[in-house]
Symmetry: C2
Subunit: 294 residues, 2 copies
């Protein structure tokens, strides 16, 4: 059984060539105070994160998550993370993840107000039981993200490709979905382009072709989507990054929200319209996603 675990990390410079960063780690009680009230993560949501799935002690797609952490840091003008240090921290946490499914979160905050350096920490915990959304599926609603699809390239300060800690809108969108009797949401641009879910990527199936919105449209490049596209290609399916219009959602032969811990959740309804759902195919996707992946 997995236990909860937390590690404060004294962030090393990206060019620090040490091979052992053990001195930079401090194990802390995840239920006890560890952060001070001047933390810019708490005051401003000013920082970045990654959530990584762990299955039977195997950390899934570490490299892709670390690459995205580094990309988010760059977009947010944070010092480049030392990936060897993060790898070692992840390895330390893995010893505590036990059997079953877990989640490791990496957090890199801008630090305390007027402070000298970022604050970094890692947590690991058992994952919630996601068997119901994986097998029975989820109902989603489309929600306007306010921005048009040209905004990300016009306005990089909107940080649309960065996984920042500023998720209040993402959480509000999920609450709105639940108010509407659904489980989750799909964000759509003001000019009717499908973007992403608040905490997942969107994958659509058209015949033997799988499509996901292009990351250039200001969405996060989903690590699970990437992994699943590799798998689908190996199974002989075509995979494409495309501009997907909101109206084409309902024309899909299948649709999933995919993310690192819930994995592939088949969509059974969009805005109240039922969607066809191939339970056996979804099971095969989750079987792949639960296998050790690097």
């Amino acid at each position: 059984m997995a236990s909860r675990f937390a590690l404060m990390i004294d962030p090393a410079a990206s060019d620090d060539l040490r091979t052992d960063f053990a001195d930079s780690f401090t194990v802390v009680d995840p239920t006890a105070p560890a952060l001070n009230v001047s933390e810019l993560s708490t005051q401003r949501g000013d920082g970045i994160f990654e959530s990584i799935g762990v299955v039977e002690g195997h950390v899934q797609e570490t490299r892709a998550h670390l690459a995205r952490l580094a990309h988010s840091a760059q977009l947010c003008d944070l010092p480049a993370p030392n990936l060897a240090q993060w790898r070692q921290a992840i390895a330390l946490a893995t010893a505590h993840t036990g059997s079953g499914e877990g989640v490791i979160k990496l957090i890199l905050s801008r630090g305390v107000e007027h402070g000298p350096a970022p604050t970094a920490w890692l947590t690991s915990a058992p994952a919630p039981d996601f068997s119901a959304p994986r097998t029975r599926g989820i109902r989603v609603v489309t929600l306007d993200r306010g921005i048009d699809s040209g905004a990300p390239s016009r306005a990089p300060w909107l940080l649309l490709g960065a996984k920042t800690l500023s998720y209040a809108v993402n959480m509000a969108a999920i609450r709105e979905a639940k108010r509407r009797g659904a489980d989750d949401a799909i964000f759509v641009s003001s000019d009717d382009v499908v973007l992403e879910a608040p905490t997942a990527s969107v994958i659509l199936r058209f015949g033997d072709r799988f499509v996901t919105p292009a990351p250039a449209s200001g969405i996060l490049h989903g690590t699970t989507q990437l992994s699943l596209f590799e798998h689908l290609a190996e199974r002989g399916f075509a995979t494409d990054y495309e501009t997907v219009s909101a109206s084409s959602l309902r024309q899909a032969d299948g649709a999933w929200l995919v993310s690192s811990v819930r994995l592939a959740a088949p969509i059974t309804a969009i805005d109240g319209d039922e969607m066809s759902h191939d339970a056996e195919f979804s099971a095969s996707l989750n079987q792949y996603l639960l296998s050790p992946r690097d």
Copy 2:
């Protein structure tokens, strides 16, 4: 001299009629760990805040700040804050603000992940020295906020009128302004409507008339802007809430960014174009803003 001070608050229900909430407060060291790593404020920027100016021991516009805290809580589906409790917490902090200028921050987070209740705390600290921006003024750039001016009414889940902890974009906009050689930014909608600054309201002067963007356009209703409009009306000026086009910014006879702690910062340049700046008039605004206000 003001000292730093922090108080953890066990949030009382809004209908809790106690007159003394002292039992619900715990003084903590602002530089020591007080928050745990599962805090949704740190993980998701999921919560709300207020920053209140303190001048010579007087907390400015407490009522307006508490009203906005309650409004933000409602927009974010957080339990309604008990305002009597917050007033008492503010009074306790005021004893530590000393002479000169200070800032009290109120923070109401959704709490720890899967936890039973919100987490709340207050900090007070000396304010930075803002005499230079108040007297010499600030250079600003306009930055596209990505959203169109219709988004706030179409999509309340964007939380555009709430003062959430998810300020990563606001902070990124200020960094972008500095990269462009300016001090601060003014957000403009994708359809060319002036919104607000990342941490301030925009006030423009046209002759004897003062104008600020209407709060319905999805901006925060600035407590300092409200207070200053009352003051300007008392001095016989006209004050209006209007839709302000980005192109009309440069036609103003004067422009300010106003906020609770920096107060009125006259704008001396917009996107590199110099603006006229009446130093004496700005001084009169800051003299008013530094006087005790309720």
